[in-house]
Structures are given as structure tokens and as C-alpha cells.
Symmetry: D2
Subunit: 152 residues, 4 copies
Amino acid sequence: MPFHFSTEVIVRFAETDAAGIAHHSAYLVWFEAARVAYLAEHAGGYQALRDKGIESPVVEISVRYFSPARFDDKLRVYARIFDIRGARFRCQYVVERDGERLAEGSSLHALVDSRTFRPTRMPAWLREAIKVAESNNSSIDKSQLSQKGLMR
Amino acid sequence: MPFHFSTEVIVRFAETDAAGIAHHSAYLVWFEAARVAYLAEHAGGYQALRDKGIESPVVEISVRYFSPARFDDKLRVYARIFDIRGARFRCQYVVERDGERLAEGSSLHALVDSRTFRPTRMPAWLREAIKVAESNNSSIDKSQLSQKGLMR
Amino acid sequence: MPFHFSTEVIVRFAETDAAGIAHHSAYLVWFEAARVAYLAEHAGGYQALRDKGIESPVVEISVRYFSPARFDDKLRVYARIFDIRGARFRCQYVVERDGERLAEGSSLHALVDSRTFRPTRMPAWLREAIKVAESNNSSIDKSQLSQKGLMR
Amino acid sequence: MPFHFSTEVIVRFAETDAAGIAHHSAYLVWFEAARVAYLAEHAGGYQALRDKGIESPVVEISVRYFSPARFDDKLRVYARIFDIRGARFRCQYVVERDGERLAEGSSLHALVDSRTFRPTRMPAWLREAIKVAESNNSSIDKSQLSQKGLMR
């Protein structure tokens, strides 16, 4: 399952902790930044979704940390959306530094009405945009992806 | 100008940085926590204000840092509200650890309609509650306040 | 598997997001605060461990979110440590508001030398302290635990 | 006093709050990111300084907020370093969105030994690098700077 999208994140000093490494909660923020950038590139943006009265709260999230990121590290965060069904979808993430996988994660999202927080189906245009994004073989330079990054 | 209110904050590991100390942005969060606790004790809470459609965004903030706070430090955050005029008010803060002043700060707040972000006057009940709070001489144990903490 | 430890967290305004709820990354910070408070009560504190040159970085974390927490909510965060083996241990968490389970999570931790980040075994005193903590039936009021909170 | 350096920041969802705007503490993190990017471009990076055993803790910070930033806003953060004397220096910041000034701030920094936290003088190479950076008229496209951004 290849990734067709990635974005760069630089570890901020505010994101480090007294162990001298990026705090483990920062990865969730980077995953979200990658998810938002993905939607910006492929589907008019997360704000477009919010403007239509839809939020996509996180229902489940998990992260595996392999090696610590440190202050000022330039990270590449890969993201993909898959397993869309009704009012739910899943994302996967890989965080790399110079081709070394530092962490990977996945999240399950609900789609809800932003006022009532009741489930709502993914709009057809978004489903279609994601389908196109995930079948697009040219959107990122494959050579950037380490072998480890290509497969799970 | 004595403080009549204080609350306790324990420095979280997530709030530290790679210099081994609490990140300087954490103090703004602690000031806010103290401000919220102050309003909870004296004026029905900040949420009561929000429920009436009023937000109080920060217009100015300043902090002076004297000595670093570290992970797991038990801090006392003093807060007071003063200088209420129309749609604005000011707060002052002192952060102490075992009577040692680590930082002090002040903030200027607007009162705005939460939808339009237009200025709105402080409700009379809130103005009155703050007046009572700030004239109350018994609400905190004066012996907790270091001499430095008592005056600015 | 009952919890013998819990701590209180109040949702800070800084922890909310534009969806009007506590941001999902805040739960990791609350889990950590509960873990630290647990160790403070039972094992001389996490700082005691750090003073001995040991860090316990997060190797894996997962969270399931059932219902959103909101600004100023008073949350109870249950934590327990279990499955200690060599240089690793696991924690489990439940976040409740008025007996309603809002989220649950688990984390896997390594024990490493704080300079080399090489694995190191859990000190015997800590293993013993956790064993005592987890067998203690009286440390929290069972009636606080919802039925859902008692079992997984 | 013109700015010769700026960097882009996109408002993260995690940086917003329940008032629907970027939390005021986020600006300190953006100022820091701009400061770090400035040093990376002009002086071998903040990490170069840290590698020499020097930290530059914030001694004072102040921010004035004019208009709220919102989720996904593309912000330009201008930064400059000035008033270097002995073991202290000052920075100034302006945050703009499409030429509109949203906030401005300043910080005072100490230079300290990272172990003892004792003051240490700014290394000559850093002082020189900043001098060059601040006299460089070509490093940013002047047309990006709004009239308001050019002067203080």
C-alpha cells in the first residue's frame, strides 16, 4: 500500500521535552497537519468540509515509535486515507527522517454534523477526491519513499 | 496590590522542553488556567460568560521570567483582575515555587460577542463579582504570599 | 482488572480546538499526568527515576474516544501499570466525566538510559512499588468507578 | 526598522481553541519557529548554538494581538534580532496574513551555559552573523512586506 502524499514538518523547540526528544503527543499534531495538507491538495481542504458543517473527530488513534525525533529535525510525514465506509474513514501515517522510519500510526475518523455531533455520510465529492488521490501514481516522487515506507 | 486568589499547577512533562525547563509558552496556559479558576470561584465561571455569548480574547500579554520551572514542580499561580473599563479588563499573575517568584505577567482582555467578535461591555453581575473578589481579604492565606508576591 | 489509582484533570481552554471540544492529543498529556501522579504516589515519582538516569519513552500508544470532553470539564483519569517485563511495561487509562467513560487508552514504555537511550531493566524497587500499588484494594473508592470502568 | 527575514506558518487545527481562533499561546511558538529559522538561515542554526553548550532562554516576552488568526490561515512571521549586549539580545516579530498585521511581539533573551544556566556572552561569530543578516537588504522580497510591516 504505497503513499501518494507526504508533507514536511520541522521539529519545533516547543515540541521537545526534558528527555531531549520530540514529545510523543507531537506526532498526533503532525499526523493531523499531514491529513489537513492532504485534504488541501486533493479535496478543497478540511476547512471546505468544516464550511459545510462537517467535522471529522478522531475516534481511534495509535502510534508506534521506533526512534526519537529531535529538535530541528526535518521530518517527512506520509499520509493516506483508506477504508471509507459510510460515516467513517481511516488514515495511515509514516514519519521518516532521511529515509529512516521514526514512527507510524493510524487513525479512525467519524464524520459528524458540527452542531449535533451526529454521524453524517462522507459527501460524494470528497469520497471521489480521495479515490482519485489514492490512485494517483505521480503525486509524489517515489524515490523519496524508502523501501520501508512503501510497504506495511 | 495584594492577590486574593491563587491556584496550584504541577509542571507536566509535556510542558518541558529540550533545555530541561518548562517551555516559556506554558506560562500563558497556566495564567489562563488561573484566570478560569478565579472566575469559577468568584463569578460562576468563564463558561458562564461563554454561555451568554461572550468571549474574552487576549489583546495584549507580557511575561517576565526570573527563574526556570522544571518538570513536576508544584507551582502557585496568583491571579487578580483589575482596571475594568467598558469592554476591557486587565489581569496580573505571579508564579511562585516555594515562595520564590519564578515569573510574573499581565494580560489585557477584550470582551466580545462570540459570533461577531464585536466589543461588548462587561455584564454588571461580572463586574460586581470581581469587585467583591478583589476586596475580599480572607480568600487566601496571606502567609502563603511571599513578600515579593504581595507588591508590584 | 480494577484501577487502584486515579487523578483529576480539568480541561483547559488551551486544550480545546475549533470543533469546540478537547483536542485528541490532549488525552496523551492527561495520560502522562496520571502516570506521573501514579509514580509520585507509589514509587517516589517519575523524577526519582530520571534522577537515576532512566527515562521511560513511549514505544506505543493507542486511544479510543467515545464522547468528547469540553472546556472546563472535570475529568477523572484512571491509570494502572501492568505487564512489566525486563525493560518494558504497559499502562492502561480510562477517562471519565461524572462516571461516563469518554476515552480509554494504553501505552507501552521502554526503560532506557537517559544518555545512551539503550534499554535498561526496571529497578527492583520500582517493580516492587508497582506490585504493591496494583495489589492495594483500598487506594481508591470503588464506588467512583463506573461498572464500565472496572472491566475491559 | 525593516525586517530582513520572514517565514511561513500555517495555523494547525491543534493550535485553535473553542473560540474558533488560534490560541494566543501559539504565537509564542510561531515566534520561536521564526527565530530558529532565522538562525538556521544566518548563523548555522540554533542547534549549532546548543551544540556549543549555549541556551538562549526567554527572559521577557510580550505580544499585542490585533486580529485573530484562524485554522489553516497561511501566516507570514517576520523576525529580526537587535540590541545585542553582552549576554542578552532582543527579537521583534510581526505576524501577517495577506498583508494584514494580526499581531506583533518582542522577546528578550539571555545567553546561558546549558548546564549551569549562568550568563555567557554571545559568541563573536553569532554576533557577526546577525550583524550581516540585519544589514542584508536583499534577503526578502520587499514587496511582500506591507507598509505596516515595514515600520514600527
